[in-house]
Symmetry: C2
Subunit: 296 residues, 2 copies
Amino acid sequence: MEHFADRLIEAVNRKQNPSIVGLDSDFSKLPDSLKGSIVESPEACSEAIMKFNKSVIDSIKDTVPAVKLQSAFYEIYGPSGVKTFWKTAEYAKSKGLVTVADVKRNDIGNTSKAYSRAYLGKDSPIDCITVNPYLGSDGIRPFIDDVDANGKGIFILVKTSNPSSSEIQDLTCDGEKVYEKVAGLVNGWGQGSTGTSGYSSVGAVVGATYPEEAKRLREIMPRSIFLVPGYGAQGGGAADVMSCFNKDGHGALIHSGRGIIFASGGNDFSEAAGQAAMKMKSDVTKALKEKGICPW
Amino acid sequence: MEHFADRLIEAVNRKQNPSIVGLDSDFSKLPDSLKGSIVESPEACSEAIMKFNKSVIDSIKDTVPAVKLQSAFYEIYGPSGVKTFWKTAEYAKSKGLVTVADVKRNDIGNTSKAYSRAYLGKDSPIDCITVNPYLGSDGIRPFIDDVDANGKGIFILVKTSNPSSSEIQDLTCDGEKVYEKVAGLVNGWGQGSTGTSGYSSVGAVVGATYPEEAKRLREIMPRSIFLVPGYGAQGGGAADVMSCFNKDGHGALIHSGRGIIFASGGNDFSEAAGQAAMKMKSDVTKALKEKGICPW
């Protein structure tokens, strides 16, 4: 039962690539070869998504260290969608990928514990989930118990990539923004979960669209790995995400979803996803080298 | 397709009871008659929960207007748990109950839209879900689109009932607490969704454990219905929740979960749940009468 952050960094080093592909497998965007001929039932849609995910995973598995499953696109199909969610996680795991489930769960006490067991149990094919911090420690501690006991990880929302993230996250309290206060909490919550890599299994979600904020957050949470959404489709580029990394060239996992899996939008989606993943690796590596912090 | 808040208030008036029972159906707390003899597989646990829920619903359906399903206790059993979640919602609906799914979902753009369609679609047996506001308008608007189009509702987390809710929610920004700022946003988001009852289908979660805060929140969000957790097991009493109501005796839905469904903890759980629901109705009604705002 190896430490999550250590495992993740080992996988990043092995692939020489600090990026993660989002399986935001929206059925309506699937290529015609997969969705064209079927009658749209939850079961049929879920099966088409499974085929799509397998093809994408096969084409990116040697390039990227990790995938992220966006739960919403599976929950929408009820029990059969949830089955595809779990089968996808198992398939990704079997191909040696680190698996992150983007579920943004949040609750308190026994309910948080139930969510944690649902995803971060000892035998779960999910390595890590995203969590929302609005309820405070009561909502986070039950997840951290399983992080420590089962070698799992969490990424806590700190500063999200969307334009309206400012409405609550950027409110100023005693000279600090709410997201900075949350970052302070995340740093505290993660203290006991640091591995031999020096990184904690309690990470943070920090949007690629806010490079200046990321710089400050890197200082507040030196040991947290940042899951960085907003690259590509949402407008963030390789230069924008550099402030999410530490000086050792680690500490950030750059996420791209639609920009990879729907790179072509056509029946050549699998090949196109593989190429887009390689392009992203090369762009991020180039920026790391230009900044003089590439670890490879 | 009637307006959600109007439907809810009509149901509250019909039962003369502004309370909601939480189907927090934690398998480990089920009575021996349901869990004693089974081998614990996800399927068997889910089936036992379904039997439990049906019995509880049958015994409370004439007393309470609504039930709330806590998603975590179903998700923990994967696809079969999710199946029980949906079958429970359908069963409650068939017995004339308003159904709230406590999922606390949160995301942005297309992903929020997918979550919304998963729960608030036109044909969904779910009438209303809980939502987390940390991502701002981008995360809320997609849900409100379906609220308005499909006669559905949402309750947005404002001030939660747990002790550590203060860590983020009570931070002070320009003389106002974060939860007051969020309440202001909720009031704005709900403006276009008001029904003939004068109440909006965009409601708020306000914990029973913070009566003073609730008084202030009632002023900021006059048209929002409050979903009020923390009654009973978490320590809030009938007197504590009175500040959640408006002067018309409406505007709050008091929640009790464990205190009702596990009232006896034994094989007489169904009868005990029915009695506990009637006791809660009587306690809340008495407090409303003492305050001189009982609508019945």
